[in-house]
């Protein structure tokens, strides 16, 4: 399988050989060996999380009859996906070695505004009271101005859209409401980003302060003991509770797999032809085949009737699956293929080097908070839909810790520079399984919290230890 003559065999650790005979294609055996070398040098990625997920699923499967049922699996995914989405946005912040503690309550603000718009039939002035309303609109305007100052144009546009929707008193419409939530999230992110990157406060302090602030804002919007029901709005309700039709599920499968295989195999083909560095063909093909089989089995399982009740039929892939997949694809694309994504990694890896390369480091730093809060707003739409209502606790409690935990458990480093959007998905699944499984075993919230916390601690120590190994292994 080796296309290039390999003259000098790598001696120590297999890392160093000659560049003059730079190998672009490895044999499968070499690739596997390389993989283990990388593991040993501390580059674990999402390996521990995937293994842990497998172990957890096996464990709960043996412990509870109802764990691996179709019904529970769909439920588990729908329950976990809101926080999983928030975690996807957090990955961008974590990649810079920053933290956004306010992502949870910021998402709660978005949920509250969205729900109020629906409950009050678009009349936000009535819902908030005129003083609060004008403060709210003023805040959005400030965000728009800050975004312009920082030249984050998308942030300015979204903030102005939120102002427009609020001022015009646009009538209730689920799509408008979701757009409003997203725009409020963007505006919040602009404010966070400005405070961290332009004022220069540590993100920990800024977002801790905002965490508390947004909690107050939610309470102000909803009122003590209040609750906004959105379960009566069919679109808002089905985001996390609805399913694709059986036909739709298979179409999703077909589109997803053709797209995935097309991109992966097409790129591999091009790289091999141009003589670029590639993974061995058997591994690439094997990966695509494995994903296809798993996706097909999953799709098939979800198209079976999973209703525990004989009188209703519940079938089809839940909407949250394509929602998460689309966000995963977009996030991965942005991080891997665009200049912006490359610069995020560079700033996270060595901010000074990035600055010397002419990268606008403050802008990148601000922008990740905008991404994070915007994506958190999408997470808020999903988790509010799942519950069917928004109360003053929305986005509070352990939403944020769950989201940070998901990203870190999935393999994203808290030290910056290393992480992928898929880590949020894998880690989110781990935590969703823990929460759901322990719930099925009738464990009290105390145990669930303790176990969740310990899992996070474990993941963070794996991160810290592997980082230490990596720095030791460098020279």
């Amino acid at each position: 399988m080796t296309n290039q003559p390999v003259a000098a065999k790598p001696e120590s650790g297999g890392a160093i050989s000659d560049f003059g005979i730079d190998t672009t294609t490895q044999s499968t055996g070499e690739a596997v060996r390389d993989f283990f070398v990388r593991l040993r040098s501390g580059d674990l990625g999402s390996m521990p999380a995937v293994l842990g997920l497998g172990v957890l699923v096996l464990y709960f499967w043996t412990q509870s009859e109802s764990f691996l049922t179709l019904d529970n699996t769909a439920n588990l995914i729908a329950q976990g996906s809101g926080k999983m989405i928030i975690a996807m946005g957090l990955v961008f912040v974590l990649l810079l070695g920053e933290i956004d503690l306010s992502a949870g309550t910021a998402s709660g603000v978005c949920a509250a505004v969205m729900a109020m718009h629906y409950v009050r039939a678009g009349n936000l002035v009535g819902g908030m009271g005129s003083t609060v309303f004008y403060v709210f609109v003023g805040g959005m305007l400030v965000a728009a101005v800050l975004a312009v100052i920082m030249r984050i144009w998308a942030g300015a546009v979204f903030a102005m859209v939120a102002v427009t929707i609020a001022m015009l008193g646009v009538g209730p419409n689920p799509w408008i409401e979701m757009l409003l939530a997203l725009c409020v999230g963007t505006a919040i992110g602009v404010i966070t980003g400005f405070l961290v990157s332009k004022i220069g406060m540590p993100s920990f302090v800024v977002t801790l302060a905002l965490f508390i602030t947004w909690q107050g804002v939610i309470l102000q919007f909803i009122g003590q003991g209040g609750v906004f029901g959105i379960g009566t709005q069919p679109v808002l309700f089905s985001v996390a509770n609805g399913n694709l039709s059986v036909l739709g599920s298979w179409i999703l499968f077909a589109v997803g797999i053709v797209g995935y295989a097309g991109v992966v195999l097409g790129e591999h083909y091009v790289r091999v032809n141009k003589g670029l560095v590639t993974a061995p063909t058997p591994i690439v093909v094997g990966k695509v085949a494995a994903v296809t089989v798993i996706a097909a089995l999953g799709t098939y399982a979800f198209t079976l009737n999973r209703s525990p009740n004989d009188f209703v039929v519940i079938e089809g892939v839940p909407y949250v699956v394509p929602i998460v997949l689309v966000l995963l694809v977009i996030g991965t694309y942005v991080l891997n293929r665009t200049r912006y994504g490359r610069h995020i990694y560079a700033v996270g890896g060595n901010a000074e080097a990035a600055r010397r390369a002419g990268i606008n480091v403050p802008k990148i730093r601000a922008s990740v908070f905008v991404v994070c809060s915007s994506v958190a707003a999408l997470g808020a739409i999903v988790y509010s839909s799942k519950v069917g209502s928004v109360d003053p606790q929305a986005g509070g409690l352990n939403t944020l810790l769950f989201a940070v935990g998901a990203a870190v458990i999935g393999g994203t480093s808290l030290f910056g520079g290393r992480g992928k959007v898929i880590h949020a998905v894998i880690g989110g699944l781990v935590l969703a399984v823990v929460e759901n499984g322990l719930g099925l075993l009738q464990q009290p919230a105390a145990v669930v919290n303790i176990v969740t916390g310990l899992v996070l601690l474990l993941a963070a120590s794996v991160d810290a230890l592997s980082r230490r190994r990596a720095t030791v292994a460098v020279r």
Partner: protein, 257 residues
Amino acid sequence: MSEPILEVTGLNKSFGPVHVLHDVDFTVRAGEVTALVGDNGAGKSTLVKCVAGIHPMDSGIVRFNGDPVSVHGPRDAAKLGIEVVYQDLALADNLDIVQNMFLGRERGGAWLLDEASMEQAARDTLASLSVRTVKSVRTPVSSLSGGQRQTVAIAKAVLWESKVVLLDEPTAALGVAQTRQVLDLVRRLAEQGLGVVLISHNMADVFEVADRIATLYLGRMVAEVPTREVTHGQVVELITAGRSGDLGLARPETATV
């Protein structure tokens, strides 16, 4: 003697209360290697960073090809064709060799990078430097040795159609063979008509490749002389005492008279 391609005059730079560079004049000529020498802390790296737009200058004029230019950031310097190999290399550990070499100047659209073209160009550059140290151009920099990193940093600087290359102690971490290659490269770049600045503490290297030697002493440019007009001993004296015979700072007694 060729025309000055880069000319710095009256450069002052302070970090807070510390006045690091005093009225420094410095000239880089196309097709020549100018060695910049001086003791630790003399201000060599600071001078290079000011020219590269990393540090703003307090005062001073930079002329490029005779025209005054304002360098407000690394991008301005790169646009003029000034490339720098920094003493600390300035590589992002988590990125691979190709990604580091093109950092900030990626090929392709903002929304779809052209990885293939970048990878090929990176490999060609490394091959043209006959760099024989790295297994694959997709190796993350974190897994390279110190010397390999330095090589990548140098390759990064010569990848571009540059006019001036400033190398801040580029051979500090290199072995004998690798140092040889870098010195050859320095000469080759000058022969291609580039203005090359080499910062080094190794006098043998300096005397081998440099056409002119500029000496910084406590932030002052004390001498800028053709290499063949000075001896080893004189340069060492200039570095350590700031003067040597008629060269360098004026003698205190003549200064006070």
